[in-house]
Every structure is written in C-alpha cells, then in structure tokens.
C-alpha cells in the first residue's frame, strides 16, 4: 500500500470523502443510540473473530451491516460501518481501513435508501411486518452487494490489478464470493428479526453456526492441502527409481489439467484429472527395475510386463473413492486411437476421455524432458511430433487443446539434467512413454 498510484489515491480519497459527507449530513432523528453502539461493538467483534478464525476470505461483516440497515436506517448503518472498520482488530494499514469502512458505509447508505423507498420500516420488525418486509430487504441486499462490488472493482481497476477483458476474466471466484456475501447479508434480516426478542444476543445465535461452518471449512482446506501434498510426495517417491523421470507425474498432472481446462471442464473434473495424471504411472512399480532400465531390445515377456503397468496402477488406486472417472483414465492411458495400444486395444472414442487427455500430456512431458539416450526436445519440436502422431495415436482434439494451452500459458519443461556423475544412479535406456522412440521388442518391427 506504500506506493499507491495516483489514480488509486484519488479514488480512495473521493470514496472516503463521500462516506464522511453522508455520515456528517445526518439526519440522526429517531435512531436509538444504544442500538447503534451495540451494533458497532458486535460488528467489530464479528469481523475480528472472522479474521482470526478464517483464511477463506469471506467476511461476516455484511450481515451486521444489513442488520444495521433494517434497525437504524441508512445514516445509522453508514455510521456503524465507517466507525467499526476503523476499530477492527486486524493488522491493516489506515488507508485500507478507511477505504473498507467508506466502501461499506456508502453501500449501506444506498441499501438503506432502497429499503425505505420500497416501503420498509426502519426499526425492529414486528410480527405484522413479515413476510412483506422481505421484498424491500432483498432489494436492499442486492444494492448493497452491487455498490460494494463496484467500489472494490473501481479500486482494483485504479491499481491495475484487473483490466476490462471479460473473456480472460475468471468469474467463478468472484461469483462465489458474491454469493457468500449475499448469504451473510440474508443473515442480517434474521438478526434484525429476533433483535426485538433477545436484543444483541441475536448476533451470537445467528453467527455461531456460521463461525463453526467457517472453522470446518478451514479444516477442510487444510486437510485438502495435506492430502494433495501427501499424494504428490508419494507419487514422487515411486518415481525415485529412475533418475530422469523425476517430477514426471507432477508435470503430467499439470499438463492434463491444462488440457481439461482448455476443454472447458468444470473445476471438480479438472481436479480429478490432475489426480489421475499424478497417479498414472504408479503401476510402473510393478515392473521389474531391470526391465525398465534395459538398454537392448525387449523380449516378448518383458514387453508384456511393461504393458501390464496401467492395470497394476488401476489395482493400486481403485479403492480411492473420489477418483471415479479417473480410474479409467489411469487404466487406459496407453491406448491408441487406432486400437493398437494396451492393455485392452480400445480404439477411438471407446477410449475414456480422461485416458486420451493423460496420454497426450504424458507423451508431451516425456519428449520435453531429457532422457539418458537423448537430450530434451524443445517445446516446438514436441508439438510438431504430437501433431504428427495426432490421429493414429492421439486424439487430435486433445492435442489441439494442449497446444492452445501451452501457447497461452507456456510450459515449464523439466530443467535439463546432466547425466549423473556417479554410476550408482539408475538410468533407463528407453522410455515406454516416448512416442518418437518406440520401444524395441525382439522379433518384431518397431512399435
């Protein structure tokens, strides 16, 4: 915040001035000062607790703000918001506090006037007010959210964080944030509704389940991170057997995810295919090391052992419930579009979608990594090779998706490794993933 650009400084200044102006102008007739103070205290407590407990970025402040709109009207709510933000226990610069407070104050002011204009009565809603009070309240809620978002967006724009490029903009996080903020806003009405019965204790009753939920979400996120880290580490442990394939699973996971996102899959499926990419070669552990590292031609038996690894992988991970669709991806990631792959010899669209994705990402990473028998290829060479194999071996749709994604986001290839100095490290002489240098099997033409 130290080096605030001029535009942002101006913007913040205007917003804060507007808020102060609104609050200073009043009027304050008919506002119960005790309610005002209670609301401010509870706002501060809720916001501070929320920050202490949560890292997920959703703040419960909009519920307190909207409760204030109903209970003390536009000016009162603006005052509560502005003052509370300056008092919240949080490490935050004064500029940020002032802007947040002003932003909320203006939003609450606008929401309050909407509420009154549509026939809502300021004060504790009574029995007769329900359910008619809901309509003006919902309108107020929407105005509150809209103003808030616009002001925040304006600041972001001044800071140069976002540009007006609707196509590239990622809407999903914003929508999630807005929905949760609206959800918290609805709680504001609940707080206002039982304010008449138990007073300020209403906030405790309403927000306690929310805090618990937040705590559980944080636990969930921590556990999810731990899970992903464990999965990645264990997959890498499986790979330590071969010096050159280190990090292969991570990069295939990433590549598969890029293709899936390019194809427009939803976030959950993208996550699943990332897991599948991570796990795709786990079954290689069932292939004897000496076969994987053999330099000459493979015998029929040895080739059969290699062909078994997708099935072995499937056997290992099939009990992981969430993988579902990914299981088929792991089992069939060496099928070819022309039906000459393994283990089942499926062809065309009989091959599961996930398998077609993983197979492209797998080959691409293999070609852009160094192997003992050749240097890494450049991204362009690898893409040319993929294009050459699209059709008979790879699904052209997946190849195109990968190329588009790599063009846009780039590809961090495995950094070129020099062959290990000591001769203890284990080095494979061929790679079953490499489409440009097929495995050599005795007594057959190259496949």
């Amino acid at each position: 915040m130290r080096a605030l650009p001029g535009a942002a400084r101006l913007f913040v200044g205007i917003v804060v001035l507007c808020a102060v102006g609104v609050v200073a102008a009043g009027p304050y007739d008919g506002i119960d000062p005790a309610t005002l103070v209670l609301l401010a205290v509870l706002f501060v407590v809720a916001e501070s607790m929320g920050t202490v407990m949560g890292k997920t970025g959703i703040s419960p402040s909009s519920s307190a703000s909207l409760a204030a709109v109903v209970l003390v009207g536009p000016v009162g709510a603006a005052l509560v918001d502005l003052v509370s933000w300056l008092l919240v226990f949080r490490r935050q610069s004064l500029v940020k506090r002032a802007f947040n407070g002003a932003q909320f104050a203006i939003a609450a002011y606008a929401a309050g006037h909407t509420f009154v204009a549509l026939g809502g009565d300021i004060g504790v809603p009574g029995r007769a007010d329900f359910p008619l009070v809901v309509a003006p309240f919902v309108a107020a809620l929407l105005v509150h959210t809209l103003v808030n978002t616009l002001l925040m967006g304006g600041l972001m724009w001044c800071l140069g964080v976002i540009r007006l490029q609707p196509r590239r903009f990622r809407w999903r996080p914003l929508v999630t944030l807005e929905l949760s903020s609206i959800g918290y806003g609805v709680l504001g009405l609940l707080i206002a509704a039982i304010w008449g019965v138990v007073g300020a204790f209403a906030i405790v009753l309403v927000l306690l389940p929310m805090f618990t939920a937040r705590w559980a979400f944080d636990q969930y996120i921590a556990e999810q991170r731990a899970h992903d880290a464990t999965l990645a580490t264990l997959c890498q442990a499986v790979e330590t057997k071969d010096y050159y394939t280190r990090g292969h699973c991570m990069r295939v996971s990433k590549g598969s995810g890029m293709i899936a996102r390019e194809l427009g899959m939803n976030a959950e499926r993208v996550q699943t295919i990332r897991y599948a990419g991570m796990l795709h070669d786990v079954g290689k552990l069932g292939v004897p090391t000496k076969v994987l590292q053999k330099s000459g031609k493979l015998t029929e038996e040895e080739y059969a052992a290699i062909q078994l690894h997708p099935m072995r992988g499937y056997e290992i991970v099939r009990e992981i419930g969430f993988l579902d669709e990914a299981l088929a991806g792991i089992m069939h990631h060496h099928e070819r579009m022309d039906g000459r792959g393994y283990p089942m010899g499926l062809a065309g669209t009989d091959i599961p979608e996930f398998a077609r994705i993983i197979s492209v990402a797998d080959a691409f990473d293999c070609m852009t990594s160094t192997r003992s028998y050749r240097r890494a290829r450049s991204t362009e060479e690898a893409i040319a090779e993929l294009r050459r194999c699209a059709g008979p071996q790879f699904d052209p749709k997946m190849v195109d998706a990968l190329i588009a994604a790599v063009d846009r986001d780039g590809w961090e290839a495995h950094e070129a490794v020099d062959p290990p100095e000591d001769d203890t490290a284990e080095v494979a002489q061929q790679d079953h993933d490499d489409p440009s240098v097929p495995l050599r099997v005795a007594g057959e033409a190259e496949r």
Binding site: F130, V198, A213, R214, E223
Partner: protein, 438 residues
Amino acid sequence: MILRDLGAPEAHIGGAPRRHRCRPTRLLMILLAAGCAGGSLLYTALTGFVEPHAALAFGVLVAVGELARITLPGQRQVAPIASAGAIGYTFLLDIGGDAAHHSAWQVMAVVALGFAVGELPHIAVGRPPQWGGLARRMLIIVVLSLVFRYAVQALPAPPPPEGGWWPVLVVMIVLVFGGWLTDAVIAAAIRAERIRTRLAVALHDELRAQFGLGMAIGSSGILISLASTVTGLAGLLVFTAPLLVTQVAFRRFAEIRLTYLQTVRALSRVTEVGGYVETGHSRRVTRLATAIGSELSMRESELLELEYAALMHDIGQLSLRDPIASGATVLASPREQRRIAELGSAVIRETGALDGVAELVRRQCEPCAGDGDAGPPPLGSRIIRVANAFDDLVGESTDTDRTNAVLERLRMDSGVEYDPEVVEAAVRVLGRPADARG
C-alpha cells in the same frame, strides 16, 4: 448434494465390523430410546396432538434433517438439522404471537415420527442408520423436553411473551450445554464399548469431536424457537440456513478426511505391488496396530497418526534397489532396517503435513528402551514394531498354534527389543475370537 450419504463406510479404527458381539450399553440405549418413542407416540395418539400445524412443520423439518444425515470422521453419524429442529420444537413457546401448549410427550412423539420418516428412504436403499447414534439423538430430546417443558412452568415469571424472554433464554442455554454433555457421555460409553478403550479417553474424544457442531446445533435450535415467535412457521426454513452451511462444511471435511485415508491406504500398497512386501502386509499391520493402540487407550488423534504410520511403515523400501526377500524387515539386518525407516520417514516428512507420522516411522525399529540419547521411542513406534514383527512371522496364517508360537517368541524378546506392555496388549487383542478382534 447434501442428501447423498458418504459412499464407503468410514475407516474403522479397530478393524472389521463386529456384528455378533453383544454390546450391552448400546443395546440399553437403543431400548430406552425405542421405549420413549413408542410410549410417547401411544400417549399422544390417545390424548391427541395440540397445534397440529406446528407439529407437522417441525416433524417435516426433523424428517428432512434426518434424511440429510452425514457421517463425520470416526464413524459418527450426525443429523444436525434434525437435531436442531427437534431442539427448536422442544423450546417452542410461541408461534407468531400465539402461545404453544404442546407437552413433552408430544415433542418426543413428533421427533420420533420425524426420525422414522427420514430414515425410511435410507433403509429402503440399504443404508440402515447407526442405531446407537439414532438412539442418542432421540434420548437427548427426551431429556431436554422433559426438563424444559416442566422448567418453564416452574419459572417464577409468567411464560413469554408477557414475562420477557431472558429467564427462558438462560434456561435454554443451560439445557443446551447440559444436553451436549449428556450426549457426549452416552456417545463415549457406546464408543468405548465398540473400540474397547477407556471411558475417559472416549469422552475426551467425543467432547473434542462434537464441540463445534454441538454448539452450532444448540444455537440453531434456540434460534429456530425464538424466530418462530416473530416470523411464525414460515421462518423455519430461513432460520435453518446457517446450519445448512455448517452441515455442508462438515460434510466436505468428512469427505476429504475419508479420501485422505483411502489415498494413503491405496498408496501403501505400492510396496506390495513392487514385490517389496507380502500382499496385505501393510493392512494387517495397521489393523493389529490400531487395535493395540485402542487397547492401550490411545486418543483418537493419536490413533489416526498411528494408522497412517502403520500403513506407510515400509514406504522406505521403495528407495532400495532390490526388494528384501519376501519383504520381511524383521529378518533384515538392524542397520538395513534402520536405513529403511530413515528413508521412509524422509519421504513422509516431505509432505509437510505428517511430521508426527514421520517421527513414528523413523523410530519404528528402535529397541524399546530407545537408543542414543533420545529416550524410548514413542508408543506408536513401539506398537508398529510389535505389529510388524508379528505379521512378518505369521503372515496371512490364522493358525492358532503358529500365532501362539510367534507371540511366545515376541514375549521372550520383550523388555529388550519389544515393549512388554505392547506385547501383552497384542496377546489380549489376538486372544479374542476373530469376529471380536480389532
């Protein structure tokens, strides 16, 4: 999405389901709950339902909540919305300005009916409830409703709205806390019986596991009953919304916990597929180790760490060039064993999330007095050492003579190599009939 139950059964701490063992505490609770439900239904059917609209609305809420029950880690089946609805109906004194007159018996009858209706679809698709958990949900309402409906009449002030809400609110809060404690005690009794651990340990686990959700349920219950005074029954739906969010959060946490366990279990098998250890070794070691852990009254969090460590105790073998003969680490040289443990521990530590597990794995082959200055290894390590040695020597065999011979050998080495306490616990666990064994 909320109506879907967790597909696979939760990890059993303590092994396969034991259907045939008689568990008197659990049985007693179920009979008591069933008796209260039946009795209250009969009584209310004879005397008639007062304010049927409210009864119907809350009955539906309870039924929907029960339909959306979830299973938390540690095989704890909960139905937060059903419980909150039931508490709300218990505490209901006023609906949109009209006083509510239902008796404690009617509360029980409505809640019991709601539970039954909510469970029917589950039973129809072959997912019967945990009867112990269902009985607990019922009993807590029995206690709360009996105390509350009479306590309110006994209050010096007239009941609200004339008398003001604060005295009643205090009673509600005290009752919710008391109810939560009672529930934890009952749950602990059932759990201690199931996994054969000490009651105090089980109580500690239950209090920890149920605290957050318990508070959320209690406050939502109070909220629902108070809100009904202002908004009438229409508010019922809206006021369960915060709890719904809570339930979704807990559900996702339970799911990821289960996934984590499944992932570790599946990947613990890579050593088997790679030919480093015998098929099923990790799982048998894990089952025995967690059973010994329960027997020695380890806490739930420690048991989970033990389970992870036991599953991954051989992961260090992946770094070996060639598998040890049939993977039996007990037959390898101590130096080699130490190296495998170190390698495995290094892998686990790299996850950044399982430091405790890594420590258990690292020290799994130290003698029971420990070596060096670090003192004796943690209990988990000592347990894994015994369970691993037992499985390496017995394998898949279920032959009693062989089991006894191996236990005798472990006993001879106990005191130096193996912790005598752990060996004795293993003897007790393995001495139980197979279906009652952990």
